[in-house]
Every structure is written in structure tokens, then in C-alpha cells.
């Protein structure tokens, strides 16, 4: 009876939540999403350059396409940062930091390049972002004793990506 009243009251007043928080470590980490996101940023920069080379610019189609490219670039640069942050925060341990002294600087660089990729439409910056997340991926797989290879992505922009050899 009282629980029904409280449930109804909660719907009305929305009581504050007290979190009995559990964090179930899933152990599923893969830097691939951050690499895909970096590739997407490069692709968007290319599409933006292509579009701005067109003659007719003052039409609605132009603005629509440009806005979409910019929005996707924003989203994926942020996604790239997020994916790296999750591995950094939840997977990387002190022993990894000891073994790879470059790691902290590398992650910081990825954060900065991710932001710069949003602020600018620079292909060079986007390429640097990919290079940094590739190195991050290499280190990640190495901590799991899984060898890696560098291959050109089989889709545009066709840049080199680090893959695990499973």
C-alpha cells in the first residue's frame, strides 16, 4: 500500500536518487573505435575541402552538406577522445605507465589533437590525431602481448591503421 503511494508520489515529485553504485568491470576494451573516429575526422576534412572547391556555394544544398560534415567531424573528434579516455582511465595501470613512459604524454596529445581537430579543418592535424591513436593502439595491444600490423584502411581516406594480429 505505502509503496504504491510512494511510487505515485515519486512520479509526481521525482525524489532524489541515492546511488548504491556498482561498477561491473567488463574488461572489454578496444582502441579500434578511436582509430575509426580519427579516420572519420580525416574523411570529413577531405569532404569539406572538396565541397568548398565547388563553384556554387550560396545555395541550400551546399550549406546543408557542409553543416553535416562539420557536425560529424565534431562528433567523431570527441568520440575519439572519449574512447581513449575510457581505456586510459579504466584499463591502463601503473605497470603500463612504468613500461611506457611516453603513454601519459601521448594520451594528453590525443586530447589536444582531438580538440584541435574540432577547432580547425586541418588535414595535417587530423593525420596527427590518427598517428597518435595508432601509437596508442600499438601500446594497448602490446600490453596484451598481441602483435600488430599496419595496413591501409580499405576505404577512404585509406590511411594507415594499426590492427591486432589475432
Amino acid at each position: 500500500m505505502i509503496e504504491k503511494i510512494l511510487t505515485k508520489l515519486d512520479r509526481l515529485l521525482h525524489f532524489e536518487r541515492a546511488r548504491a553504485h556498482c561498477d561491473i568491470p567488463c574488461g572489454i576494451y578496444d582502441p579500434h573505435l578511436s582509430q575509426l573516429a580519427a579516420l572519420t575526422v580525416i574523411r570529413m576534412v577531405d569532404l569539406m575541402a572538396e565541397l568548398s572547391g565547388m563553384e556554387k556555394k550560396e545555395n541550400i544544398e551546399y550549406h546543408n552538406s557542409m553543416s553535416r560534415y562539420v557536425a560529424i567531424k565534431e562528433e567523431h573528434a570527441e568520440l575519439c577522445k572519449r574512447e581513449v579516455r575510457v581505456i586510459w582511465g579504466d584499463y591502463i595501470k601503473q605497470e603500463h605507465l612504468d613500461k611506457y613512459p611516453e603513454l601519459a604524454g601521448l594520451v594528453h596529445k590525443i586530447m589536444q589533437l582531438g580538440s584541435k581537430s574540432r577547432q580547425t579543418a586541418s588535414r595535417e592535424t587530423a593525420l596527427e590525431l590518427l598517428k597518435a591513436v595508432n601509437r596508442f593502439a600499438e601500446i594497448y595491444w602490446e600490453t596484451k602481448n598481441i602483435p600488430t600490423k599496419r595496413v591501409k584502411a580499405p576505404y577512404k581516406p585509406g590511411e594507415e591503421v594499426v590492427y591486432p594480429v589475432l
Binding site: L6, L9, F15, A18, R19, A20, H21, C22
Partner: protein
Amino acid sequence: MILFKLLKVTGSSLEPEFKEGDFVGISGIPFLFHPPQTGDVIVFRKPPYGTMIKTIARVEPGQKEIEVWGTHKDSVDSRSFGPISFDSVIGKVIWRIHNRR
């Protein structure tokens, strides 16, 4: 100080005593009579998690610090974020309604 406040529990770290969806009534009045002590179920603020509910596992004597634990092995509590301060405690659970849904 909070006289009385109703909250709803989310998460499962205090099962089986407190389950997701249970309601709890908390108050700061009990602390006027005795400070927080081991075994008390308390609600406190812990950034970045927000408002949390846990059981007091230990009170650091003289240091104004409290260790809070959940009952579940994956509980996020003082074992991961360290002790909390007396000041962050909002109230003690003095009433609980199980939600049988």
C-alpha cells in the same frame, strides 16, 4: 541539517538489504545524539558520482573521516574512492520501504 527526506535507491551495491527501486527516508537528527558510527546506513554526496547510499564500515577516530562500503563485491565505495568526510554526509537512513514490483 535535513529533518526528513525521501529518496529512491538506484543500483545494486547494497543488495539484499536495499534493492533498486526501494524508498528510503533519511534524517540528520540522529547525528545530534551520536555521531555517524559503524553499521549506519548513510546517504552522502560524492562527486562525481552524486548522491550515494552505503554502509559505514569504519569511522577514522579523530580524523572526521568515514569509510563506506557496499555489500556487493563490485560496489564502488571507499575501497576505490577512499574515505569520505563527515561534512559530505546528508543523513542516516531511518525508514525504508521495499519496492516489491
